[in-house]
Symmetry: C2
Subunit: 222 residues, 2 copies
């Protein structure tokens, strides 16, 4: 079942309590994983990694990142159906990774029309933007972290359209997640966590109206 | 016309050339504006502002941010149907703004069940997260900028579902945009630009296959 675009955006809200007995169908999980993979990123860098906790053990491991500093968030993890840890690459100018991206783009057929030229152009363009961030701006990690958040935005809307409730949580100790899932060694840092599932009857937030600033306050047309 | 979720994510790509004669219907623009407004953000901070260039003059003003440093991006702005400048708040701990948010949440009915208590809880929770970022982490602007990117991710997927082509562009001189649209005085900094419209026959990228890393490379299930 999918909900229309605007209806989904209106209905979506941060779930505060999940029904621990309801599990997301595998077909929906597969669609969401595909969306995580397909999300766009600057210069196609795909600077992200996802740990998907689908088991009780997996969720308990994620909840170690909330038990001490943000205990009010732990039940939103352990009672959810699935939990996704969003993580961001630590290093942008990694030769091995840049070559992996180029090889994948070549294998996927993006350079077929003129393999040498297109491949060189893509590599040069990507390195130009990376060097802006590693060099003059010195914000390479934050730049990549923003791509991870862009992915998260797409993910939250997609889940809502599948009728799945979500809770994006920055109230997690990302250092604990890095250690728990060996993210640092893999070259990533945890950014935030999104719980997925179906809200329980105890979720006070489910019935509350959404509040947003008016269009006048946040946009203008020129 | 809306496209299904996965189909939209697969079809979406960064448009390199727009058909200058095709305009997005007003009904679709209205839906996209509503989505910009409804997007979620940490502690409902909504730390964003949007300049929507809908006229030739408006687009020409946006293109001043690419003409010098990124001239290859200028036609993607001037030939598009509409262009959205995404901007982020400069200051998180702004008393006036925090009160505006609380007042709006009250007016929208979020505190009705227990106005004093709910209002105080919301204010305290929001200030706690803001103080983490203004205080120990000293990353308040980047934190807010990430919310803007989250909004952008939702926006790109939504546009694709409406059959609208997009080009997210970081290759813009954000200082020029800040001056051109008085964003600094309004309390914001431009983050990036998204062009919207319909690709032209000259867009080499329209027919190229999408390339993404495999699921194995970017995710694991625990």
């Amino acid at each position: 079942m999918t909900v229309s675009l605007t209806a989904a955006a209106k209905k979506r809200y941060s779930t505060k309590a999940y029904d621990p007995d309801r599990k997301i169908p595998e077909a929906d999980i597969a669609r969401l994983k595909e969306l995580l993979r397909l999300a766009p990123s600057s210069v196609n860098l795909q600077p992200w990694y996802f740990v998907i906790a689908a088991s009780e053990e997996g969720k308990a491991r994620v909840a170690r990142a909330t038990d001490e500093a943000y205990p009010f968030n732990s039940p939103k993890i352990t009672d959810a159906s699935h939990v996704v840890v969003f993580a961001t690459r630590l290093k942008a100018d990694d030769e091995g990774f840049l070559n992996t991206l180029l090889e994948k783009e070549a294998a996927d057929g993006r350079f077929d029309a003129d393999p040498e030229q297109f491949r060189a152009d893509m590599d040069r363009g990507r390195r130009m933007f990376i060097s802006i961030h590693t060099g003059q701006r010195k914000d390479a990690f934050d730049w990549m972290d923003k791509q991870t958040y862009l992915n998260m935005g797409q993910f939250l809307l997609a889940a809502a359209q599948l009728g799945i409730d979500t809770t994006p949580m920055e109230g997690v100790d990302t250092d604990v997640l890095d250690r728990e899932f060996g993210l640092t060694e893999k070259g990533y840092k945890a950014a935030a966590v999104v719980s997925l599932g179906y809200h329980s009857q105890k979720d006070f937030n489910a019935a509350l109206p959404k509040s947003r600033l008016s269009e006048d306050a946040i946009m203008e047309t020129v």
